[in-house]
Each structure stands twice: as structure tokens, then as C-alpha cells.
């Protein structure tokens, strides 16, 4: 079945299932309670917070849980009515399809949560608001989130190359975020029944947590710009390596993703890759831009740059794990790298990723001493050096990524390059030569 047809079928099935549960609960719904729930969902959705790429936090699940506990899960199923206007307002394309899917998955998730809550409470003979309802609310939150994530993973799986489990499993790790929500929902339900005015008290930690998340998001973006601007400034004087750190960072993060590295480690990978060559500020520009092999003294100078970079960054607490990566990005699995000659066992996976990405970008970019290699040739070279210089698993992941994103060589400076003879040396990574091969230095 073609991809578009599969997507349409999946969305239609979700929409029909959502409509089915809606029709089923409709006779049991109290109008005022439903209107209040829909209004609350509308507000919650409108003020949803994007905390990072692809992860959005909304308080809709709290509203759904409160509705389940106080006015019955039939009302909670109608939460989708509050979701639809926000989807319509924010969707940039395929609005109808998005509305159908979001409404359907919201109704199904709320139904699953309600069913879990009711079944558990019936089983343990609990009555709201005793402590057994807290456990039931936890189970309902779990059912809501798992159903929601499974349906979203399904739509990703039918519309992209990413598999269902590859999407679902990382998302399930975020379930821990639901724990405070359950407590907030439970407390809100109790207060709603007993002292509605006190809901203001409950709003305080919610508002502060949201404020902190938004402030963090802004600061994180500012930090990203700060680091990138400094790296760019350092690279700008060296025309052949201009943009190298950005490309290595992009590639390293993609490879880390391919290898299933978690979000925090990917974030670290990005900064380590962006900053890996910052120590070159301490190396003479004549050496960096030299059109030809380096002599022994120049090579010794060049070998200082990982250590200089680590020294510059040494007291940034947040980057502490990245400092080893900056220092070790010229180490090799066989222990013949520099500056410390570390063994394979001492090289973390992130170091291996940055090392391979760095070498790959160096080979596929035009430098002062040679033209850029083709991507396929660079991959072949990496494979040839796997086990001695590079991690084979990382090399294969990099090959997959390079093909998937159609990585292209960087030849911006090919015409300007001072390659006098026109038959510049090939870009072998470790080809033995009389002089020091430049790509071994990168």
C-alpha cells in the first residue's frame, strides 16, 4: 500500500474509533460538566508548552483525569472538542487530517484512561477521594499516555521511515513526567469537590513549573546561539574549515540518533562536536592553512589543539562530560591517537561518534591541501580504518545517515583553493606518507 494511502487509512481508522466511543458515551454526558471540561481543555491546549524539539507539554491530561474522577469518564471522552479549535488555529497544512487524527486519538486515549480507572476502582472497591483512587488515577494516567503515544507512534510509522517501536520506546521514557501530573490532577479533583477556591493554590506550582520550562527553553536557545557565534568567529578566519564544526555537530547528532543515544547525551554530543576544534585558536594560522604536509614541528603544534580546547572549557560545569570528548577527538581505537594515546576501552561512544563525524566531514570538504572526496569514497575510507581508528558500529551508522540525508561534499572553496598542480593529493585518512597526512590531523 503506498505511503499516502496507508496514512489516510490510519487517520480515518483513528477518527472512526474516536467517533465510535463518542457516540457510545454521549447519552451519559451531563451538559454543564461537558462544557466546563471542554473549556478547560481548550485553555490547557492553548497554553501548551514546547519544551524541546518534538516534545510539547500540555495540561490536557490533567483536565481529563480530573473529569474522570469528578464527573465521569464519559465527559472526559469529549475533551477532543476542546482540542480541535487549537489544532485548526495552529495547523499549517492538512488541517482536516490533523483534526480527525487529534480528535480521534484524544477520544480513544480518554476512553482508555476512563476504562482503566473504573475497572481498577471497581476491583478494589475504592471510593473517591480515598487513597485507592490515587492509585486508580495513576493507572488512568498511564493508560492515557500509553494509548496517546502508541497512536502518535503509529502515525509516524505509517508516514515516515521510522518504525513504530523506534518512535514509541524513546517516548515512553517521558512517562515519568506524568507522576507530578497525577498528583496535581488528584488534588485538583479533591479541591474541586470540596473547596473549589483552593484551586488557585494548586495553580501556583503548575504556573511556576511552566514559567521555568519556558525560561529554560529561551535560555537554552540563547546558549546555543552563544556557542555557535563563538565557534563561527574562530572558524571564519580559516576559510577551508568554515562551517566544519556546525557540519560535524549536525552529523554527530544524527549518528547518535541512529545509534539510539538518549536526548541528554545527544545534546552533549552536539556541544562537544561544535566545540571540538576550539583549541585551534591556539595554533598558528600558518599551520592550519598550510597548503601541504606539515613538518614535525608543525605537527607537534597541531597536536596541542585538543588539549588547548579542553583547557578553555575546563570550568564550564555543564560541559564537563564534553571536555573529554574535545580532548579525545583525535584518539584512535588502536591507541595510536593523540594527545593521550588512549585505548579503545577508554573511549566513550560519544567520542567515537564525534571522531568519525569529524573525519568524515574533513574528507568530504575541500581543504587547502586537497579537494573534497566523494561521500562513497569517504565511507569506504572510514570502513577501511574501522577497528583501528574508528568504531565499526559508528561507521556503519554514519553510512546509513549519510545516505538517508543525502550528505553532499562541501566544495565551497574548490575554485579558490591553492592547489597549484591541479592534481591535489587524495584525501586518505591514514595513508602512510613521508610527511604527516593532513586528514589524520583534521
Amino acid at each position: 500500500m503506498p505511503g499516502q494511502t496507508r496514512l489516510l487509512t490510519y487517520v480515518a481508522a483513528t477518527g472512526v474509533a474516536g467517533a465510535g466511543v463518542t457516540v457510545w458515551v454521549l447519552p451519559h454526558v451531563r451538559l454543564v460538566a461537558a462544557l466546563a471540561t471542554v473549556a478547560a481543555v481548550l485553555v490547557a491546549e492553548w497554553f501548551s508548552t514546547r519544551i524541546r524539539d518534538g516534545v510539547e507539554v500540555s495540561l490536557t491530561n490533567i483536565v481529563v483525569l480530573v473529569a474522570i474522577m469528578t464527573v465521569g469518564f464519559e465527559v472526559a471522552v469529549l475533551a477532543w472538542v476542546g482540542v480541535v479549535p487549537v489544532v485548526v488555529a495552529r495547523a499549517s497544512d492538512r488541517v482536516f487530517m490533523r483534526v480527525v487524527f487529534n480528535a480521534g486519538q484524544c477520544a480513544i486515549s480518554a476512553f482508555a484512561a476512563g476504562a482503566a480507572y473504573t475497572a481498577f476502582l471497581t476491583g478494589v472497591s475504592g471510593v473517591f477521594p480515598d487513597v485507592r483512587t490515587l492509585a486508580a488515577a495513576g493507572l488512568a494516567a498511564l493508560a492515557y499516555s500509553v494509548t496517546n503515544l502508541a497512536l502518535v507512534s503509529g502515525v509516524v510509522a505509517v508516514s515516515s521511515p521510522d518504525g513504530f517501536l523506534a518512535t514509541l520506546l524513546p517516548a515512553l521514557r517521558l512517562l515519568v513526567l506524568q507522576v507530578p501530573y497525577v498528583a496535581i490532577a488528584f488534588a485538583a479533583a479533591i479541591l474541586l469537590e470540596q473547596q473549589p477556591w483552593a484551586l488557585v493554590v494548586l495553580a501556583v506550582p503548575v504556573v511556576i513549573a511552566r514559567h521555568a520550562m519556558l525560561a529554560f527553553q529561551r535560555l537554552d536557545e540563547a546558549y546555543d546561539r552563544l556557542v555557535r557565534s563563538f565557534v563561527k568567529t574562530i572558524e571564519i578566519k580559516d576559510r577551508y574549515t568554515r562551517g566544519h564544526s556546525e557540519r560535524v555537530a549536525t552529523l554527530a547528532v544524527l549518528v547518535a540518533e541512529e545509534l539510539g543515544v538518549g536526548y541528554e547525551q545527544r545534546r552533549l554530543t552536539r556541544y562537544a562536536a561544535l566545540l571540538h576544534d576550539i583549541g585551534k585558536i591556539g595554533v598558528s594560522r600558518c599551520v592550519i592553512n598550510k597548503a601541504g604536509p606539515l613538518d614535525a614541528d608543525e605537527f607537534e603544534q597541531m597536536k596541542q589543539h585538543p588539549g588547548i580546547g579542553a583547557d578553555i572549557l575546563h570550568d564550564i560545569d555543564f560541559l564537563a562530560p564534553a571536555i573529554d570528548i574535545v580532548r579525545s577527538h583525535h584518539e584512535r581505537l588502536d591507541g595510536r591517537g593523540y594527545p593521550d594515546g588512549l585505548s579503545a576501552a577508554q573511549l566513550s561512544r560519544i567520542v567515537r561518534i564525534v571522531t568519525a563525524a569529524d573525519a568524515f566531514d574533513a574528507m568530504t570538504s575541500t581543504r587547502s591541501y586537497r579537494r573534497a572526496m566523494e561521500v562513497a569514497a569517504a565511507i569506504t575510507e572510514l570502513r577501511r580504518c574501522a577497528d583501528t581508528q574508528f568504531d565499526p558500529q559508528v561507521v556503519e551508522a554514519l553510512a546509513v545517515v549519510a545516505e538517508r540525508v543525502a550528505w553532499a561534499p562541501t566544495r565551497d572553496f574548490a575554485n579558490e583553493a591553492t592547489m597549484a598542480t591541479g592534481d591535489a593529493p587524495s584525501a586518505g585518512v591514514i595513508t602512510p606518507r613521508d610527511d604527516v597526512p593532513r586528514d589524520a590531523l583534521r
Binding site: P129, D130, V131, L134, V179, P180, Y181, V182, A183, I184, F186, A187, I190, L191, Q194, Q195, A198, V201, L202, V204, P205, V206, I208, A209, R210, H211, A212, M213, A215, F216, L219, D220, A222, Y223, R225, L226, V227, S229, F230, K232, T233, I234, I236, K237, I278, G279, I281, G282, S284, R285, I308, D311, I312, L313, H314, D315, I316, D317, F318, L319
Partner: protein, 396 residues
């Protein structure tokens, strides 16, 4: 540019004494304001304190306060007397210290004991006031609005005291009123959690503390991430001050030293914290332009300043810093709003380049006169002189 008078910590000290006095009133007034908790409830409180004691909660730029304050507040509203609350708090802190295999911190204990003592007294006093005013029966619902209100006030006061008193040898960086801006989120979250626990107690009993702490945990996670990011931002700017050193453009540690000196001068002048932060950032980055310029060329201060400003502007969010760095190349052209920050950078840079040798009173009358003519803002030079006299800079 807003300049305030030099801060003093006596208002915070006075508040600390008042809070401590509140606990003593428990016995003076009979200590019957609230229902006495059972042994089981005290045990739950103790466990909750052990669990929350190691977790600090803080806003960026301020010290953390223990999350267990919310448990202390809940205990106070529950009717635990000051001595029992202090005993539980101390026991919990000792247990946590033993688990972590480190000596208990005297300053941390001081904060906890003071908070427990004061909050218990505040709860008792508040409940009595409620009874007197409304004839309420606080024990019937397990919580009185009066008790909770005064505990909430107390929870706003404790972080301010931590922020503004020299506890544990830490020098307070701001006065009590100014400190509120750096503690209000933590105080509000602690107060809301305490109220929350009290409000749910009739339905959930001791479980109310667990449920109330979970939203606080979400706040803590959010604020901690924010604080770590804010710290990383400043540390990265300081690290970038070392870039020109790598090729010998300036002496080693010049940017960091100028930054430290500029911070002291900004504090001495009582600059707003936002302005002071930008002054320190500018001090760290004032030589950054050298990485853009030809290393072998002889360059003037104005060229370095202009190049540095253009690099800093690339960061997108440091416009005032870029402007200060730019103007430090030609301080005479500074607008009124930036005269003081620019003068601080020029003066501190000059002092570090001169290398005062770290001797107190290093600035002679002649040197002051010379600096005033260079910098153009006498109060900055005099503040710098006072800073140097009290805490000499390290030799460059």
C-alpha cells in the same frame, strides 16, 4: 542606570530574630492552638523529611533551600510543637548526612532548625488569631486558615533570609528586599505545597504530604534545569575570555581577573543585578575582538572594541554587552546610561594591565587622578580604589 544605596543585612537579621521568637510563643501561649499529631503522623513527617532533605530548590543566581521546608510547613500546620519539629528536622538531616557519608553542615542545620522553630510558632499564633477572630475550630478540619496563612508568610521569609544573611560563611550578594526577586518562585512553590498538603489532609491523611510534594518536584526539576543553564551561560562567557590568551594577545587570566574586579566594583557601586551581570560579561569579553583581527598587526583599543562588539552581537541576546564592549574603546562617547559600566571596564582593564602587585591602597592620589582623566567617571575610580584597598587584586 539605577544606583541604589549600599545594602545592609540588618532587616534580615531582625526578621530572623522575630521568626525564632515566634516558636517560643508556643509555650507562652499554652501551645494548644492546633490538634496534636499522632506518633504515626510524626513518623510519616520524619520519613518525608528524610526523603526531601537532600533536595534543594533554587532560582537561578540564588542559593538553594531544602525542599523539606514544605514538609516542615505541613508539620507546623498539622500542629507539631516547635521542639518536636526541630527534633524531627535535626534527626532527618543527621540521617541524610550519615547516608551520604559526610559531616552534617552547621549552616544547613541552622536554616532547618530556624525554619522549624519559627514556622511552628507561626502556625500556632495564626490558629489562635483565627479562633479569636472567627471563633473557628481549627482542629475540626485539621487546618486553620490563620495557621496556614502565617506559615505561608514564614515560607516567604525563610528563603529571603537564606539569600540575604551571611549563613555558613557565604557572603550575601544582595539585601533582603532585593532578594525577594530571586526567591519568590521558590517561596511560592513551597507555600503552595504546604497549603496543598493541609487542604488535602481531611481526605488523604498522611498521604497528603506525598501528593503535595509531587508538584513541588516538578517545580524543582524545572527550576534546576533553568539554574544549570543560567550557570552554563555565564561560565561559557568566562571561558571565552580565555580565547585571546591562547595566542598571546593578552596575559593569562586577564579577562577573568578583570571580570572579578568589575563584579566587586559593580557591587561597591550598588548597580542593579542585571546591569552588574552585563558589566561582568563585558569585562570577560572586552578583548574578544582580538580573535577577529590579524594577530601580527598592531591594533588600537577602538579596533579591538569594535571587532569584539561585532562578535558578541552575533550571539543575538547580548546587545547591551556588545555596546559596552564597543564603547570601552572610546569611553568619552558613552551615553549617560552606559557611562558607569563602560568606565568600570576601562578602569579595571587598566588596573589589571598595570599589575598593581596586589598591595592594599595600591592607587595613589596621582594614580587616581590619572585614571579619572582616562575613565571620566570619578565615582567608578573611587569605588575601584576602595575595592583595591579592601581586597587587592592578584598580580597579573
Amino acid at each position: 542606570m539605577s544606583v541604589r544605596t549600599r545594602r545592609t543585612s540588618w532587616p534580615a537579621a531582625l526578621v530572623a530574630v522575630l521568626v525564632a521568637a515566634l516558636g517560643s510563643l508556643w509555650w507562652v501561649l499554652g501551645g494548644v492552638g492546633l490538634s496534636r499529631p499522632t506518633t504515626g503522623q510524626l513518623a510519616v513527617l520524619a520519613v518525608a523529611m528524610v526523603v526531601t532533605d537532600p533536595w534543594g530548590i533554587r532560582q537561578p543566581g540564588s542559593p538553594s533551600v531544602p525542599m523539606s521546608l514544605a514538609v516542615v510547613g505541613a508539620g507546623a500546620i498539622k500542629g507539631v510543637d516547635p521542639a518536636s519539629l526541630v527534633a524531627i528536622v535535626v534527626a532527618a538531616h543527621l540521617v541524610v548526612s550519615a547516608i551520604n557519608r559526610r559531616a552534617p553542615s552547621r549552616s544547613a542545620l541552622l536554616v532547618r532548625v530556624g525554619a522549624a522553630w519559627g514556622l511552628a510558632g507561626a502556625a500556632m499564633l495564626g490558629s489562635r488569631a483565627a479562633v479569636a477572630e472567627w471563633g473557628a475550630t481549627p482542629s475540626a478540619a485539621g487546618v486553620s486558615i490563620g495557621a496556614a496563612s502565617l506559615v505561608v508568610v514564614g515560607l516567604f521569609v525563610v528563603p529571603v533570609i537564606v539569600e540575604s544573611l551571611p549563613i555558613g560563611g557565604r557572603s550575601p550578594s544582595r539585601g533582603p528586599v532585593h532578594a525577594i526577586g530571586f526567591t519568590w518562585m521558590v517561596s511560592s512553590a513551597l507555600a503552595a505545597s504546604t497549603m496543598f498538603a493541609a487542604l488535602m489532609r481531611p481526605s488523604l491523611g498522611s498521604w497528603s504530604i506525598v501528593v503535595a510534594l509531587l508538584p513541588l518536584l516538578a517545580v524543582r526539576v524545572g527550576l534546576e534545569r533553568l539554574a544549570v543553564a543560567a550557570r552554563a551561560y555565564e561560565q561559557t562567557i568566562r571561558a571565552m575570555s580565555r580565547l585571546p590568551e591562547q595566542f598571546g594577545a593578552v596575559t593569562e587570566g586577564h579577562g577573568v581577573r578583570v571580570g572579578a574586579l568589575a563584579r566587586q566594583v559593580a557591587d561597591e557601586l550598588g548597580l542593579d543585578s542585571e546591569v552588574a551581570t552585563d558589566v561582568v560579561r563585558s569585562a570577560h569579553l572586552h578583548e574578544l575582538g582580538r580573535i577577529e583581527l590579524d594577530r601580527d598587526a598592531v591594533t588600537g583599543r577602538d579596533e579591538v572594541a569594535a571587532a569584539g562588539a561585532s562578535v558578541i552581537r552575533e550571539a543575538g541576546t547580548l546587545d547591551r554587552v556588545a555596546r559596552i564592549v564597543e564603547l570601552h574603546g572610546s569611553p568619552a562617547s558613552s551615553p549617560a546610561a552606559l557611562r558607569v559600566p563602560v568606565a568600570i571596564i576601562v578602569a579595571c582593564c587598566a588596573i589589571d594591565r598595570a599589575g598593581t602587585g596586589g598591595e592594599p591602597n595600591a592607587l595613589s592620589a596621582d594614580a587616581i587622578g590619572e585614571l579619572v582623566s582616562d575613565v571620566g567617571v570619578p565615582e567608578v575610580v573611587h569605588a575601584l580604589s576602595r575595592v583595591l584597598a579592601s581586597a587587592p587584586v592578584e598580580a597579573s
